[in-house]
């Protein structure tokens, strides 16, 4: 499996480097227009979140070549998850280090909430969530068909988001009570309150169980789908 992860790094290091540079560049510009660091932190969520899927998308068109090598289909699937997460977490760490450096240039920017378990979870969880939903689709369908399925999935997510926004409108008044100094005041406060109620250890256990369940379901589904997949176009 390490050979497959190394292959992805050799083949797609330009994408990883490019994404990292984009993050650093957007964070650098972000602090000038951002009053509390929310927009800058958003960059640190969105780009790493999409990285594993971007890497998979770039490799899936060479699926016939890769599966023709002495490679187990299951190792191929595992390597996509593991490699994607390693590269995504790596650029999150680079981003966090960079955020610490740039926060010294603007007093109103406070990235401290990110340097906590809660903050780190906010950054990492979307990576797992996005990959867990999208990977099985790409392992089941060809790239073009998968894109159609994913558009449908995003349409459903969009509807969910709109409903979420309606909910946010209702809780807007409540959000005013939270400190504007915080990054994502509503969500971080909700999470902090929840952690206070259940206790930090229990919260960590719950998050780990949720992530493990989600990943087990997603990887299990990907393994099942790829084991039945005919790779290459049928004659």
């Amino acid at each position: 499996m390490m050979r497959l992860i190394c292959k992805d790094f050799k083949a797609f290091k330009h994408i990883i480097v490019f994404q990292t540079l984009i993050i650093l560049m957007m964070m650098s510009f972000g602090i000038f227009i951002d009053h509390n660091g929310t927009l800058t932190a958003l960059v640190l969520i969105i780009y790493p979140m999409t990285l594993p899927t971007v890497l998979l998308l770039n490799d899936i068109k060479y699926e016939r070549l890769v599966i023709s090598l002495p490679v187990n289909r299951y190792q191929f699937v595992f390597s996509k998850y593991l490699g994607g997460f390693i590269f995504a977490f790596l650029i999150i760490v680079i981003g966090l280090v960079y955020s610490y450096i740039i926060s010294n240039f603007k007093a109103s920017i406070d990235f401290n909430p990110l340097y906590s378990i809660t903050g780190f979870l906010i950054l990492c969880f979307p990576v797992v969530l996005c990959s867990s939903f999208l990977f099985p689709v790409y392992f089941r369908f060809s790239k073009s068909k998968a894109s159609g399925v994913i558009i449908l999935m995003f349409a459903i997510i969009l509807i969910g988001l709109i409903l979420g926004l309606v909910y946010l409108e209702k809780t807007l008044e409540a959000s005013m009570q939270y400190s504007k100094e915080d990054i994502f005041p509503v969500i971080t406060s909700h999470i902090t309150n929840y952690i206070n109620n259940v206790g930090q250890n229990m919260f960590l256990v719950q998050v780990i169980i949720s992530v493990c369940t989600l990943l087990t379901l997603s990887i299990g589904m990907s393994l099942l789908l790829i084991s039945k997949k005919d790779i290459g176009d049928p004659s």
Binding site: K10, A11, R64, L65, L69, P70, S227, K229, I231, P234
Partner: protein, 285 residues
């Protein structure tokens, strides 16, 4: 004894079925897999490479099923009809591919790159089809494979390199003691180098035997009138013209007494008359 064994392998797609396919490739032999477009040659090759999931049957390549035991592909060199590698310079592609093969021999690779007049600085996407095939072949030959699986390797090659390529295959087989499965619809190429021939038509194996047996099983007859009744049961396919006919029949011991012109068919004749049957020429409008 056998490098490849396929027993009653079935694979269905919408509109196409590979139906109970069985054939065996002996060690150190070259098998030509022939058939018209869409006959199922590529499907067989993809099953052998573990790319397709079979519906039924037994597939054994070098003693293992490549779908269940992909590590066996360490001993298989493959060349596809439409080579697909990462869009980088050859040097980088090779750097990506070579760690997957335990027996990678870089000096052999460099020898082939030089012999094929390729350069490590060439970019894969900008190369011609022939050059892509050459590069794919260099990769396939650089890890001391025990089996080469080649899907339409000669289509798209210029005649000079095609002949060199066929000689190369014969040399490699003799030197490295490997087996070669070689699909093509260019029957001349198969006739030149194959020890055995498997002919597939609409997903069914029509012939699978040694080259000598295949040629000795058929006769090409020509006549001025209609086909003699005594040969009706032996008829495979016939081409009728205004005042003569040419037909392919299965071997008949007295064919030479019945017909004036009896000859050994070429592989192209065998394939042509099997495909044609007794139908009228579709292009003779």
């Amino acid at each position: 004894m056998y490098t490849i064994k396929l027993d009653n392998v079935t694979k269905s797609f919408k509109g196409f079925t590979l139906d109970n396919v069985s054939f065996h490739l002996k060690n150190d032999c070259i098998m030509g897999l022939i058939g018209s477009n869409g006959a199922g040659k590529t499907t067989i090759i993809k099953l052998l490479m573990g790319l397709y999931v079979k519906d039924q049957g037994i597939i054994s390549v070098l003693g293992d099923d490549p779908f269940k035991t992909p590590s066996i592909k360490d001993k298989i060199g493959f060349v596809y009809d439409n080579p697909q590698f990462y869009d980088f310079k050859l040097k980088k592609i090779t750097k990506i591919i070579r760690p997957f093969y335990n027996n990678w021999d870089h000096s052999v690779y460099e020898k082939y790159i030089k012999a094929f007049k390729l350069s490590d600085t060439m970019r894969f996407k900008t190369m011609s089809r022939g050059m892509k095939l050459k590069y794919n072949l260099a990769i396939a030959l650089s890890h001391h494979a025990k089996l080469l699986i080649l899907d339409e390797p000669t289509s798209g090659l210029d005649p000079v390199f095609r002949n060199d390529f066929l000689s190369l295959l014969l040399n490699i087989r003799d030197k490295e003691k490997l087996s070669i499965l070689f699909s093509s619809h260019i029957t001349d190429d198969v006739e030149k180098i194959a020890d055995s021939i498997t002919y597939i038509r609409s997903g069914k194996i029509i012939i699978s035997d040694t080259k000598a047996n295949v040629f000795n099983s058929f006769q090409l007859i020509k006549g001025s009138n209609s086909l003699p009744k005594a040969l009706n049961d032996h008829l495979i396919g016939i081409e009728k013209k205004q005042d003569n006919f040419t037909a392919l029949i299965t071997y008949h011991p007295n064919a030479e007494e019945i017909c004036t012109t009896v000859s050994l068919p070429t592989l192209e004749d065998i394939m042509y008359f099997h495909e044609r049957g007794e139908s009228y020429d579709a292009f003779n409008l």
